[in-house]
Each structure stands twice: as C-alpha cells, then as structure tokens.
Symmetry: C2
Subunit: 306 residues, 2 copies
C-alpha cells in the first residue's frame, strides 16, 4: 500500500476499510471530548463505551440518546473508579481503545499502570508517539517522546523505536526512516544519549531492530531538510527525509511538539504506546482537530493482534 | 523608543542612527561570508578588517578592491593565527565585532576563550542568543541557548537572562518578558532546572535581575500563545506574550531554533554573548538572510560601553 500522507487520508482509510473501533472513554464530561465523539460517530470510525461518574452524566446521556446503537453509558461512583472500570473494559476485550475525558492525566495513568489490573504488560515500557502534518514538510512525521519518558535509557529508546515503527507500518511505510536527534552530528560521552544512538545503529545493522533505516545523531533540521544535509556533506536514506524523529529528552520532544503546533501551523495527533491497547490522552491545549486526529491515529493503530 | 518589531526594521534603525561597526572577520574565504560583507557594506552598517590566511586571500582582495575605504586586509600564516589576530584587533579596540568565516567553530572558539588573550572576561560566561522573526508570532522572539551551554547551571541561567535582557533593551523593550521553558508548569526535583527556575523567580522578585517580568516553568506554546494559557488557567505578563525564552538544555534550545527555521518559515539571527564584544558564529545550514541578520543583530548589540 502507498503510505498515508495526510491526517484526513488516515480517516478515509479507516472508513474505506470499515474499521470501527470500540472506545472506552473515562469521564466524557467536557465539550472537547463530546466534540471528538460526535465527529467520530459521524465519520463512522468508532463506537463508544462512556464511563462517567454518577454526578456528571449529562453529556454521556445526551450522546447515548442521539446514537443509541453506538453509545453505551456506564457509571462509577468516582472518576478514579470510572478510570478503573474503563481499563477493565479494555482488558476484557469489550473495548479496543482507552480515551481520556475530563480526568486528571495522573489519575488516569495510575489506572493504566496498575500492576496486574492495568494496560501495561509486565516489563512493558510506556512511551508516547506524536504524529504531525506540517504544511512545510512533504509527508507525515512521527516523533517520540513529547510527554512521558524524561531521559530515555537505551532500553527505552529501543521500545520507542519499536512502537513507532509498528505504527509507521500501519500507515504503509515498509521501511521507516528514523533520525536520532541531537544538536550536532558528534557522538560525545558528555551527552550519554549519543552513546545510546551509536549502540542502536549497531543493533540496526545487525538486523535486531526490524526493517528500518536509522541514522544520527543529527539535528531536527538535518533530519527533515535535504539541503541542510548537503551543506554538511551528509547523505543517507534518513537525512532530509525522516519519517520518525527520536528525541533525546522530554524537553526537546515537547518543544518540537509545541513549536510545530503553534508556529508550524501543523495538525497534531498523539497517543501512548507500550500498552496492550492504544491510550489517547489529549492535552488541554490541543485543538479539537488535534484531539480528533489522535483518536483516528489510535483507531488505525488498533490492537496489536489485528 | 517603540520596540523593534522586525529584522528589516533592525537594519533600518542601524542606518537611521548612522551606526557603522568595524567587524573583524576570520577567514572570509567562502561565498556566504562574502555575501554578508557585500550586503552590509551596501546597507552601510559595517566596515571590515578581513583577516585571512596567506593562501586564501582572493575574496578578501576582491572585497578590498571594490570598497577600499571600508575594507582592510590582514594576513596570517594559518587560520588559527588569523583567529588570534582578529581577536587581538577586537581586544585593542580596532574592531567592534568578531565574525566567523570559513574556519572550524572549535578553532575560532579556542581563540575567543584563550585566557588573558581572548574575548571572555575573567569569570565570564559564554552563551548564545538567537533572535527569530516568526510569521505566526506578533513580535520578535529571543531565546537561549541553542548552541553553547549543554545544561545551564543556576549561575549560567542568570548570565543568559542578563545578556538577553541587555540586547532586548537595545531593541527598545523596557521590561522584557522572560519565560522559563519546561514541558509542564510543575516544579519537580526530578528536573533540576525547574528548581533553578524557582530560585530565579525569587531573585527577580527581590529586584536582583533588573527590570524584567519572569515566569515559569511553562512550555513553549504557553509562553507564546495566550489561548493555551487561558485553557490552563494561567495568566501573567509573560504567558502568551514572551519576548525571551530560556530553555533548560541545549537539545531543546537547538530543536526550537531548527524547527522555527525549517517549519515555522522564520528568519533567524544569533550571536555569542558574555564576551567583551559580540561574536557572530553563523552555522553552516543558516540561510544567507540569517547570516546577514546575525551580523545586524551584533551591530545593534554593539559594545557594552555604547
């Protein structure tokens, strides 16, 4: 299949393949979550299991009344218990995706990470992938980690590469091009992530990271702009043509996300990875579009067994 | 004075104030440096002391022949000796600004940092300031540090704030608005820079950092987008209206620089700070425009005694 090149095309692919995911939503009690639910119902890419606390069921009931065939409502005494119930619905296979509504992210993550009752397999690594549609880039761009892991260890870098690669495959990239981001091209022990990068490249050469191209350290511009690479005398399948950027720390990943979204006029999507099912955790300042596309990305990522 | 709002206005201010700086250039042996020199001569904002090694004087001689009143040529046996001589010309007051041509940045910095013979005062802190003109922002935006200090200490943060504030004053900002960047609003000992931020805000309250507004930690979007602040219930003179962003590490500062320049369609300028005179160190992948505006910024920053 040809790689998906835009977020609206991503939605079209879901529609044309008749993929409709069952989404468990924790506390769908705010207009942004309601917007995402209504839009995805209209696009026919999702059905809903709305888990709300007993005092805030107005929006859930309204959504059920409008689409009784595709929206069920569950209640729990508190938001924390709503989170636990929604997680349970995913664990038992009644839902494919978990989505955050009006609940504190930390509280939702507590339910997701709860040992033996959460969504992270034993020994699993929770991370975050973002997807950006940037007017000044020629294709969709994935990157990690803008939200979860402060300073990735070698093992965490490996997990990020693995999960981002899987999602890239779902979008039709046979051999994703992965850039390991730093502020220069030099490997330097003062920057421990550059030593991890050297190790990752070695493992990739040995075929241990799957079918990918990988290169770095390089800066974000060199990864996405062929001209910058040429000036520096760099050339590889990755330079100027990256599909995935791996950032050295959460501050640089988060800065990339926020800068693209504000100054790059980009449409963004994002979800957690490493869990047994996609978890959508929109941040408060995301646009409605961005929240909807995050859900669409999760729908395409689906469950690992598809 | 009204704050300067664009890079072209910055050049106009130099012209209208008849500011013409004397610039010592190390190894002006490449077409990009030649372009900057020709354009700044035409704009009448600079005159030149070109210091080249003996084997590469073609461009220097051509520039002198075209503008004999404003271009002098010096030679040295090697690029390293050219760097030492150019630094000496600044130290003796014959030049106001040092600019890098075709010489390795590390070699130039060695001359700049040489104890007793360089441009850094004893106990001084070398840092870097960038200036961005971003189509989707309502004013010029300064930030540090995209290029020099890997993980700023409290003392280094203080120095960055001081030098960025000084340059902001030169551009007509009476009380610059400084955002301390992180990926969230939380102070957290797992992120030592957020503890430095708390200390800096305390010092600012006590009036020890001069006439500034300062706030943080906050992410880059919250610093530059009022709407994001409102959604988070944040409001301060800085939120959504920052003049200066201080980044927690070089990877995030560099990512901001590269993302603005590539995907934000921004015009960039930059220079070293902490030295007794501005030092312009364009990077290879900067555009010709960006290199010219870096020189213009250095011309406005001038020397500390103006």
């Amino acid at each position: 299949m040809e790689p998906i090149r835009s977020l609206s095309q991503l939605v079209n692919v879901l529609r044309s393949r008749c993929i409709r995911r069952r989404v468990a939503v924790v506390c769908p009690n705010d207009p942004h979550t309601e917007y995402v639910i209504i839009r995805s119902l209209r696009e026919e890419i999702a059905s809903y299991l709305l888990v709300t606390d007993e005092n805030h069921r107005t929006i859930a009931d309204r959504l059920h009344a409008a689409s009784p065939d595709f929206v069920r409502v569950y209640t729990a005494p508190t938001p924390d218990e709503a989170a636990a119930l929604a997680v349970e619905l995913v664990r038992t296979g009644e839902a494919d995706i978990l989505m955050k509504g009006l609940i504190n992210t930390d509280n939702l993550l507590r339910a997701v990470l709860k040992k033996g009752k959460g969504l992270l397999p034993e020994g699993g690594i929770l991370s975050h992938v973002s997807l950006a549609q940037i007017p000044l880039y020629h294709k969709l761009l994935f990157f990690s980690d803008a939200a979860v892991i402060p300073r990735p260890s070698l093992e965490q870098f490996r997990a990020m590469i693995k999960s981002d690669t899987q999602i890239c495959h779902r979008l039709g990239h046979e051999q994703p091009r992965i850039a390991l981001i730093h502020c220069s091209e030099k490997t330097n022990e003062k920057f421990p992530h550059t030593l991890s990068y050297a190790q990752l490249k070695e493992e990739a050469l040995q075929g241990r990271l799957g079918k990918i191209f990988i290169d770095g350290p390089m800066d974000a511009k060199t990864a996405c702009d062929r001209h910058s690479g040429e000036i520096k005398g760099l050339s590889s399948p990755v330079v100027g043509n990256a599909d995935i950027l791996i950032f050295p720390n959460i501050e640089s990943g988060n800065t990339f996300y926020k800068t693209l979204s504000l100054f790059g006029d980009a449409n963004m999507a994002g979800m957690l990875t490493g869990t047994i099912a996609p978890v959508v955790v929109p941040s408060r300042s995301d646009s409605g579009n961005s929240k909807f596309y995050s859900l669409a990305l999760a729908c395409l990522a689906g469950n690992q067994n598809d």
